[in-house]
Symmetry: D2
C-alpha cells in the first residue's frame, strides 16, 4: 500500500466516524444502557487510543502520550496493554468530556498525518491498516449502539429523518445449487483481512441449495402468528430458556401499538414493512424459524462457496458454524494477537455485511461473530435445503 | 404563609438547585452509576414535575401539561400517578436533553409565578411549601450524587475548587448529661414539617450522657489501625457480611496512595485531615466503631432531647432507631401519602443535618432515613455512654 | 436450679427433640431446600454440638472431643468457635449419616448425664440451662423446617395424621384497653431468660385498644377477595416489591385447587378453615392487612403490657417494633455473646408463642425476631386501634 | 436384535445401575449440591420412568401407570411429556423414599420382562435399546455425581476402598500421523448409535500428528508451576473470566495439603500421582494447556479418523469442535427427538470414553458434549501438532 493512499484512507475513515456522530446531542455520547453497548464517546476515544498506543508510541520519534489516564479509560480488552476500566463502567465516565475526546482525536490525527507523510516501515503500515479496519468495525458498532440507546428511550427519538436503514427488500428469488466436492475456504491474495480469515484450506461440502433472498418481515410474521414463539419443539434448549426468561415474542425493536406491529428505526417509530428484509433477530430465532420452515441455515463454508452467486450485504447472516480457528490459525504475539483468537468459544459466525457496515469494509471471507442471544446488530436469515 | 414570601421562597429554592449544577459539564447530567444515585438531569426534571403534577394541574385554570411523556420519565415512586421509568434506567434517558429540561423548568417556573401571584387556597399553598421542601431534599441528593459520579471517575475531577465540604472540625468537647424522665418528642408549632415528624408524643428516657463532638477522621483511623475492620466481634452479623462481600476497609471515598490515606472531596483528591469530622460511613461502621469504643450510638429520641445542647449540623448522625411511625401517625390519602410512610421498614433514622443540607432545611425534629449499608451521604457518628 | 431437676429437664428436652423426628424417613433428614431452612439432621447434631462445645469440653474433666470434624460441620454461626460449613451447604453433607448423628447424641447425653450427676458450678449450670433453651428453639425450627421440606414436595406427604396444628380458633373477642402511662418492660425475677430480654426499664405508652382475638383465615380471605394483594396503597414499598417479584397472592402453603383454597398442614393438604387463626404470613402481609382494616399492629411494648389480659400463644404475633437493644443491653464476651446482639438490625420483633413452640418455652417478655419477608414460622396478626 | 438377547441385556444393564449404588448410604441418594448434579435416587427413578413412559405405556396392553405423580417428578427435560420438577429442585424431593424408588424399579422390571418375552415390534425393540443406552449414560452420570457429592463433603468419605479409578497411566508414547485427504465420518453399519452420529459424510482433513498418550498429572503440574493459571495470554477470554471469578488454580478435586497436592478419588483422598493421566479439567484448561505447549487439541473429525490407531478410553477427550449437527441430521418427531438436537449450541464435543463409562457403551463415533467450564466428568487432554 502506498503512503499517499493510506494517508487518504486514514483521513476518510476517521472523518466517517465523526460523520456518524453528527446527529447526536452531547447527552447521547454518554450512556451504556447494557453491558454490550458502549457509549459513542468511548468508541471515539478507543479507536483513537488504538492508533496512539500501537502506532504513534512505537513509530513516531519523540511522541509524548497525550494523557496517561486515557490508556486506563479507553483500552477495551487488551490485557497486554495494562489495566482498564471495567467494561460495565464505561457509561459512568463523564470526563473527559465529548469535546475533550474530539480534541484528543485531532491531536492524534495531526500526529498520524505527520507520521504517514513519510512512513515506509512495512510493519507500521500494516498496523495502520489494521487500525483503520478496527475503526470501521467500531463504526458499525456505533450505529447499532446509537440505535440501542435511542431505541430504548421511551420517547423513541429520531436519529436522522429518512435514515430508516432497515426497509431494504430482496432483489432476487429462488435457489442457488452447489455441487458436492472439495472447496477452498479462507482469504486469498494480498488485500487486507483479519487473522481469523487466514489459512486458506480445503473443506468438503455435500450438495445443497441456498436461497437467493433473505427472510422478510412478512415471512417472520407468519411464523409469529402460527405460534412460533410458543412451540418449544422449534427451539434449541437454551433458546427456549432465553425466550421464556426474557419473555421474547418478536424481533428486537418491535412494538405492538394499537394492534399493529411497529418497529423503531433510526428515522423513528414506523409500521413494520412486510416486504422488507427481517432484521434484529438472535441466532436462536434464526434457528427456530428455519426449523419451522423445514429447512436449516447454512454453515459458514457453504455460505462462502455460494456467496459468489448471491446478492449479499443487507444483513449479517447467522450461520450454523461456531466461531473456531481455521486449521493453521496462529495468534500473533502480544496485544495484537488478542484481536480475535481469544474469543473463539461460545459464539456463532455471521457472514456477509449489513446496511450498518462501513463502505469498503466487507468481503466474502469476513468472519463476524456474536453470542447466540445477541440481536442488536442488523442480523438476518438465509435458508438452505 | 403569605403569598409574597412564598413567591420569593419559590424563586430562591428553584435558583439554588440550578446554582448547584453550575460547575457541571453536560455529560455530568446523564449517568446513574448505581441504582441509588440519580442523574442530575433527572433531579432537575423530577422536582419540576412535582410542581406541575401536584399544583399546576390542579390549581392553575386551563393549565396544559408541558409534555405528557414527562410524567412517565420523571415520576420517582408515586404509584398513584401512573407508570414510570424503572429506577435503574434513569441513566439511559439521553433525551430530553439537559437544555430541554431547563426549558421545562422555565416553563413551570413562569406558570408557578403566575399562580403564586394570587394563590390563596390553603391546601394549594401547603402543597407548594411541600414542593419546596421536596426540592431541597433533592438539592442535597444532587450534591451527594454529583460527588458519587465524579468521585467514581478514575480521574477524580474537581467539582469546584475550594469546595471541600468535609474538612469541618468540632467546636466543642465533653458530654451533655440528660436526666431520666418523660420527654416530649415530635414537631411542635405551625412551621413546616413532614408527616413523619407529627404526632407530638411522650417517651420515657433513662439517664444518659452524649458527646458534644462528632467522631473525627483521626479517631476512626485508630479504629482502622487497631484492626477494626477485621474483628467480627465488633460487627453486626449483616454488617460483617457487608464488610466481607464488599471488601470494605475504609470509609467511602478513601484511597490509600503511596502509603497515605487520601479522600475524594468536591475540591478533588486530598490527604485525609485527622482533625476533621469523619464522613461517609455506614450504620454498620458507626455501630462497630461504637462497640470498639465501649460506647453506643444514641436513639433518635435521646438525640432529639439532647439536641438543644448540641452544636449539630455538620453530619447526618446515625441513630440506633429504626425508621418507624410515631404513635398516631397517619398516611395522607393519594400520592402525597406515599411520601414517607411506605418506607418505614428496614431503614435507620439519621438526625441533624449535614454540610450538604440546603440552607433553612433543618430542624431538630427532622427524621432522615437510609439503609444500614448506605454511605454516600455526609454521615457521621455521635456517641453515648 | 437443683441438679436433680436439671438432669430431668435435660433428659426431657433431649427426648422431645427426637420425638419430633419420629415420623421422618431417613431421606427427610437431609435436604436444605432454601437457605433459611436447615436439615433435621443438622438440627439434631448442632444442638448436641452446643452441649459438647460449651459444657463438656469446659467442665467434664478429661473429656475427648467425639469427632474434631463435627465442629466444622455443626457450628451454626459462632465465629468465636472457628470455621464452619457455609450455611447454604448444609443440605449437601450426607455423611455423617443420620444414624451416626444419633450415636453422637447418645454419646454426648451419656457424658452430660455423668456430668449433671454432680455438677454444682453455677456458670456451668447456667450454660446447661441456656443449652436447653437453645435446643427448644431448634425444636420449633425443626417443626417448621420439616413442614417446609414436606410442604414443598409436589406430593404433599403427611408428617403425622391428625397433627394439623393450624386449625385452632380464637377463644375470645373484643378489645383490651390500656391506659396512658409509664410501664415497666423486660424480664423480672430469677427465671431463665435470654440476654435480649434483660434490662428491665420504663417506657411511656399512649392509650390504645388491642384485640383479644387474632385475625382468622376468613378475615384474611376477605382481604384477598377485595384485591388486597393488588392495591399498592396498602403495602410498604419493600413489601410491594416482595409481592411482585415473588408473585405472592396468598399466605404460604395455600393452593387454589378446583376453585377452592387449600393449605398444606402437617396432616396433609386440607381445605382452608375460615374460622381458624391465620398463619404463615410475612410482616409485609400483616402490615398491609392492618392498613386495609384501618388499624395497625402493636409495638412490642404495647403487646407486653397488654399480654396479661390476652389469651396468647397460638401464633407468633408480628409487632411493629424493630429488633433493637434495650437500654443497658450488653453483649456477653466470647461465643455466647453472639447469641442475640449481632442480629439487631433489619429484623422485626414477634411476641407470644405458637402451636409449634415447645412446652415451657414461652413467657411474655420473650423477643422472637425474623426478617419482614419470612413466613415459614407460625406467624399471625393481632390488631390495635 | 433377538428377543432373548435384549431381555438379557435389559437385565444386565438394570442390575449394573443398582450395583453402582451398593456402597451408598440412604442419605447419599438425596442431595443435589449443584444444578448439574442429580441425586442418585433421581437417576434410579428417571431411567425407570423412561421405560415406563416410552415403552410400557405404549406397548404393554392394559398397562396402568405406577404412580401418576412420578411423571412430574422424574421427567428430565422432555417438554413433550408434560410438566416436570424444576431441574434445580431435584434435591428437595425426599419422598418417594429410596426404598419406594427401588420398588418402582422392580415393578417396571417385572412388566418389562413380561413384555420382552414376546416383543417383536421393531420400533418397540429400538426404543428398548435406546432406553438401555440412555440408562448407561445415566450410569456414568451417577458415578460422577456420587463423586461430586462425596468429594464436596469436608470429610472426604470413601465410596469404595480400592476404587480409585483415576490412577491409570498411558500405555503408549509418540505420535500418529494422518495424511491430508477426504475421510468418512459418522456411524456405519447396523449397530446402535445415537441420532447425532448418523449421516455418514465426508470431511476434508489437512495433515496432522496426534499424540498416542494423554496429558499426565505430572505434565499438568509443570503447567501450574510455570504460572499457567496466572498468564492471561494462554486463555480464551471466557476462560480467563472463569478462572478469575471461580479462583481456579488446579483441576477439580485437587487440594494442597501440607504443601503437597492431593486429589479426592472414590477411594478417598490420595496424593496426586504424577504418572497417572490427568482428569477433571474444563475445556478452558485443556485449551490453555495446549496453548502453553505450543500445540492444539484435535477437532472431533481428526480424532475419529485417528482413533483406529489410538489406545483411547481412559478419559473423555475435549475436542476443539462445537457440538453441531452433521449434514443431513434430522430430529425425530416427539419426545425422542428431544434427546440430542436441542442441545446443539454452546457446548463442545468430547470423544472417546472414560474409566467411568459403562462396559459396552463406547464406540469411536460417539459424540459426548458438555459446556466449556464443566469438569466433573473424567475429562482429559490429547494434543495435536
Amino acid at each position: 500500500m502506498r503512503t499517499t493512499s493510506i494517508r487518504e484512507a486514514y483521513n476518510n475513515v476517521r472523518k466517517y466516524t465523526e460523520h456518524i456522530c453528527e446527529p447526536l446531542e452531547t447527552e447521547d455520547y454518554v450512556p451504556q444502557p447494557i453491558d454490550f453497548v458502549s457509549p459513542p464517546k468511548w468508541h471515539l476515544a478507543h479507536s483513537t487510543w488504538f492508533f496512539e498506543t500501537f502506532i504513534l508510541k512505537n513509530f513516531l520519534p519523540g511522541y509524548q502520550v497525550y494523557d496517561p489516564d486515557f490508556n486506563y479509560l479507553f483500552n477495551s480488552y487488551y490485557n497486554n496493554v495494562g489495566e482498564r476500566t471495567l467494561r460495565t463502567d464505561r457509561g459512568n465516565v463523564t470526563r473527559p468530556t465529548t469535546k475533550a475526546v474530539y480534541a484528543y482525536r485531532q491531536h492524534v490525527d495531526r500526529c498520524m498525518d505527520e507520521l504517514l507523510e513519510t512512513l515506509s516501515d512495512e510493519n507500521a503500515l500494516k498496523l495502520v491498516e489494521l487500525g483503520l479496519h478496527h475503526e470501521q468495525q467500531h463504526q458499525e458498532l456505533m450505529v447499532t449502539d446509537i440505535k440501542y440507546i435511542l431505541g430504548h428511550n421511551p420517547l423513541f427519538p429520531v436519529y436522522k429523518a429518512g435514515h430508516n436503514l432497515i426497509d431494504s427488500a430482496n432483489t432476487e428469488t429462488g435457489f442457488v445449487k452447489i455441487q458436492e466436492g472439495v472447496y477452498d475456504i479462507g482469504h486469498l491474495g494480498d488485500g487486507f483481512c483479519f487473522d481469523n480469515e487466514l489459512g486458506r484450506h480445503k473443506v468438503y461440502l455435500h450438495e445443497f441449495e441456498i436461497t437467493k433472498s433473505l427472510v422478510t418481515n412478512g415471512e417472520f410474521l407468519e411464523f409469529m402468528e402460527s405460534g412460533g414463539y410458543e412451540d418449544f419443539n422449534l427451539w434449541l434448549d437454551e433458546g427456549w430458556s432465553w425466550v421464556n426468561s426474557n419473555r421474547v415474542n418478536s424481533p428486537m425493536y418491535w412494538h405492538k401499538i394499537g394492534g399493529e406491529w411497529h418497529y423503531y428505526t433510526l428515522a423513528g417509530l414506523q409500521k413494520v414493512n412486510p416486504n422488507a428484509i427481517l432484521s434484529h433477530i438472535s441466532f436462536f430465532e434464526a434457528s427456530a424459524f428455519a426449523q419451522w420452515k423445514g429447512m436449516r441455515i447454512p454453515t459458514e463454508f457453504e455460505w462462502e462457496v455460494a456467496a459468489v452467486n448471491l446478492d449479499w450485504g443487507k444483513r449479517w447472516e447467522w450461520t450454523n458454524s461456531a466461531y473456531l480457528p481455521y486449521p493453521g490459525f496462529t495468534k500473533a504475539p502480544g496485544a495484537v494477537g488478542e484481536y480475535n483468537g481469544k474469543f473463539m468459544i461460545n459464539q456463532m459466525v455471521l457472514r456477509g455485511a449489513s446496511v450498518g457496515t462501513s463502505p469498503e469494509h466487507s468481503r466474502k471471507t469476513y468472519r463476524n461473530f456474536f453470542h447466540a442471544q445477541e440481536r442488536w446488530q442488523y442480523t438476518g436469515i438465509r435458508l438452505v435445503k
